[in-house]
């Protein structure tokens, strides 16, 4: 590529990004309700966090599980600076916010440097314990500081006002996510990304090939922490009020789970997982309460069906492969139709737009992936098998509930319990994690990036094979 062409592409993509941000801010965002806006903004924030952790965990292979601490340092540092120095009316809010994002990035980067140092000597689980401890130390130090609000929380306000400062616009969330994704992508697009990957693959061999492993690991920590600090600064100026609970160990594990599910080392995987794994549980908040009988009945039938299905599928394959395949494919078609109907049905429901949108996209995506790809026959049969299992689980749940209710022992234990759907978010999240880890231990996208060539290949269209810096 010639230099002129590089700059042309650069200008064009910058223009496209600015156009997109403008559309998002002036057309899309006002058309959506408050809840939808919030879902998108926080979803983008999680995408940013997942991509930043992916740089440390996925690309450089340093198992860090205290990522919320960097997020927290960015949020609190920028909040304190705002409380002391920001005066409303003196400077454009979004310009100030940009400055605060830089402040958050610098503060978190310094913390990243400090945490990066032990990573020079520690590997794997040992490093994980140190980062975990670091996260808790940061949280506890802030808890002990009254000037930082302690465990009550900190209101982010301007120095000449008491009102919480909520100055983060929608476009800034998208811009930050795009920025972080672009920087990580650039890293992997040039040869500079390879030392990071080499450290992940084999540290000793990397150092023998002249890779400064110390520098590489610390750089990864500093960059990843800086990105998380940016997200933190944005978050504190969006909420106007921050508490310790928003940055506890659960947060760290949530971000980690996003990276793992998306595929460690895959930027697009982390971004998509970050966005959708936040949306998925969040959209279940409004569901009705569930009785303890239903939850346990469902769990029991899942276990039974999983045990039985693994035996029967092999049996069907061995005894009547042709007929079995046809039967599965019919059920697969039923599944596709069901998914499409579900996508259609959800538009008529009173749920956030983002939920409607995600479910419909998933349904259409599933239908396309099943019906139009090269391997549609086995895929459809596979889906049919899942549909069958799912049907069996539903069918078994009812008798399981009946059994639990009629048994004196279990009805004593479960009779009073009912779960709020909102509280089932985390079990659901864990179940997703378990299923992904069982079926795709590398995460959904593995070490790969999402690419249109990959989609084209899936659909049997002409495609070019992967190339570095192509």
């Amino acid at each position: 590529m010639t230099t002129a062409r590089i700059w042309l592409v650069r200008l064009l993509s910058l223009g496209a990004v600015i156009l997109f941000l403008w559309l998002l801010q002036t057309k899309i965002s006002p058309a959506l309700g408050f809840l939808d806006n919030r879902l998108i903004q926080i979803g983008l924030l999680y995408a940013t966090l997942a991509v930043s952790l992916n740089l440390i965990n996925g690309i450089t292979g340093q198992f860090s599980i205290g990522h919320a601490a960097f997020y927290q340092i960015g949020a609190y540092t920028s909040a304190i600076v705002s409380i002391h120095y920001y005066r409303t009316g003196t400077i454009e809010p979004w310009v100030w916010l940009l400055l605060m994002i830089i402040v958050g990035a610098v503060a978190a980067a310094m913390a990243g440097f400090v945490v990066g140092l032990p990573s020079l000597r520690l590997r794997g689980d040992y490093l994980a314990v140190v980062t975990l401890g670091f996260g808790e130390i940061v949280r506890i130090i802030i808890q002990a500081q009254e000037s930082l609000g302690g465990s009550y929380g900190l209101t982010v306000s301007a120095s000449n006002s008491d009102a919480p400062l909520k100055i983060a616009p929608m476009w800034m969330f998208a811009a930050l996510a795009i920025f972080v994704i672009a920087v990580c992508r650039n890293l992997l697009k040039t040869a500079h990304g390879l030392p990071f990957l080499a450290v992940r693959e084999d540290e000793l061999a990397a150092s023998a090939m002249g890779v400064n492993t110390t520098l590489t690991k610390v750089t990864a920590f500093v960059l990843g922490a800086a990105f998380a600090g940016m997200a933190g600064a944005l978050f504190s100026h969006y909420e106007g009020f921050i508490t310790l609970k928003q940055f506890d160990m659960n947060q760290s594990f949530l971000i980690l789970a996003m990276v793992v599910i998306g595929g460690t080392g895959s930027i697009t995987g982390a971004a998509l997982a970050g966005f959708f794994l936040y949306l998925l549980p969040e959209s279940l908040r409004d569901l009705p309460d569930v009785s303890g009988y239903a939850v346990f009945g469902f769990a029991i039938s899942v276990v039974i069906v999983l045990i039985v299905s693994s035996k029967t599928r092999r049996y069907v394959r061995l005894t009547s492969p042709g007929a079995g395949q046809t039967l599965f494919m019919i059920f697969g078609l039923v599944g596709v139709l069901g998914a499409l109907f579900m996508g259609f049905w959800i538009w008529s429901q009173e749920v956030p737009r983002m939920t409607q949108f995600s479910v419909s996209v998933l349904a259409v995506g599933l239908a396309c992936a099943m019906l139009f790809t090269r391997k549609r026959m086995p895929n459809l049969a596979g889906l049919g098998w899942i549909v069958l299992c799912f049907g069996a689980i539903i069918a078994l749940t009812y008798p399981a509930i009946q059994g639990l209710q009629s048994n004196a022992f279990t009805s004593n234990l479960l009779g009073e319990i009912s779960y709020r759907a909102g509280n089932l978010r985390f079990p659901l999240f864990s179940a997703t994690l378990v299923v992904v880890m069982l079926t795709r231990p590398q995460g959904l996208l593995g070490h790969h990036e999402f690419s249109w060539d990959w989609v084209k290949k899936l659909f049997g269209l002409p495609h070019k094979s992967k190339e570095l810096a192509g």
Binding site: M1, T3, I6, W7, R10, V183, N186, L187, K189, T190, A191, H192, G193, L194, P195, L197, A198, E201, D202, L204, A205, A206, S207, A208, M209, G210, V211, N212, T213, T214, T219, G265, H447, S465, K466, E467, L468, A469
Partner: protein, 254 residues
């Protein structure tokens, strides 16, 4: 002129003296063999030279300068690169990417330039990829460039390791049992390859190998270690007939 001088190097791990008072010189442009029974301290010697271990006493000079206490990546930058006895490729990276990692040592663009995707970083990457493709071609691996290195067959993995080391443009190449696990045909190919490296690139090579046909076939001088200490050194014909070597290692004349 001696490219590498090992001067009375000794390393102790607790009570075990793994390498004991070993001295040898590798002249420029020479194919130098290091042999000895299992556990004799050959790979430990390599680890001393490449900076993975630091000698307890003694000195190692490279290009007239002491490299004791330098980090492995600094030593690689000075021009010593190695392969590993148990193949240590970057398994999930493609063959091409493996070689580019080696070539990256000589890069000039900075990390910020890469993060901002400046033209210089892009052009340098393109240059590195081109150079890596050329190296892969030299080693007959061009058709595997985009395969995951973990998926390559054994012989190709061994060759890829050499290609990766060559990408650092080393002055001294250390090969740790390059023929291990190869079939006789592959071994013949490997010997030709090693000779070509010397003849075409003027590469100085220090080689550990158990296969006597390979060692006697390519090496111009041989150094024999046993229990961490030197028992003989000289040209292949002399080593072949040395009674101490026969007793400790060869068993019968080859």
């Amino acid at each position: 002129m001696n490219l590498l001088t090992v001067n009375r190097a000794t390393i102790r791990f607790g009570g075990l003296v793994a390498v004991n008072d070993v001295s040898f010189e590798v002249p420029q442009g020479r194919l130098f063999g290091l042999i000895g029974p299992n556990g004799a301290g050959k790979t430990t010697c390599f680890n001393l030279i490449t900076g993975i271990y630091r000698p307890t006493s003694g000195d190692i000079l490279f290009d007239g300068e002491s490299i004791v206490g330098k980090k492995p990546h600094q030593i690689a930058a000075k021009g010593i690169c190695r392969t590993f006895q148990n193949i240590r490729l970057f398994g999930d990276l493609s063959a091409l990417e493996n070689v580019v990692v080696g070539g990256f040592l000589r890069h000039r663009s900075t990390l910020p330039e890469a993060l901002a995707l400046m033209p210089r970083a892009i052009h340098e990457t393109e240059g590195l990829v081109e150079y890596a493709m050329h190296l892969l071609d030299t080693f007959g691996l061009a058709h595997e460039a985009n395969s995951r290195s973990r998926d390559l067959d054994y012989g190709n993995q061994r060759r890829l390791e050499i290609a990766r080391a060559m990408a650092t443009k080393p002055k001294l190449l250390l090969l740790d049992e390059p023929a291990a696990g190869m079939n006789p045909m592959e071994k013949i190919g490997l010997m030709a390859q090693i000779r070509r490296l010397r003849d075409e690139f003027g590469q100085t090579i220090l080689l550990i190998e158990h296969d006597m046909k390979v060692v006697m076939g390519v090496c111009e001088s041989i150094f024999v270690l046993d229990h961490g200490a030197e028992i003989a050194h000289g040209p292949p014909e002399e080593i072949r007939n040395d009674p101490k070597v026969i007793e400790a290692y060869l068993g019968e004349p080859v």
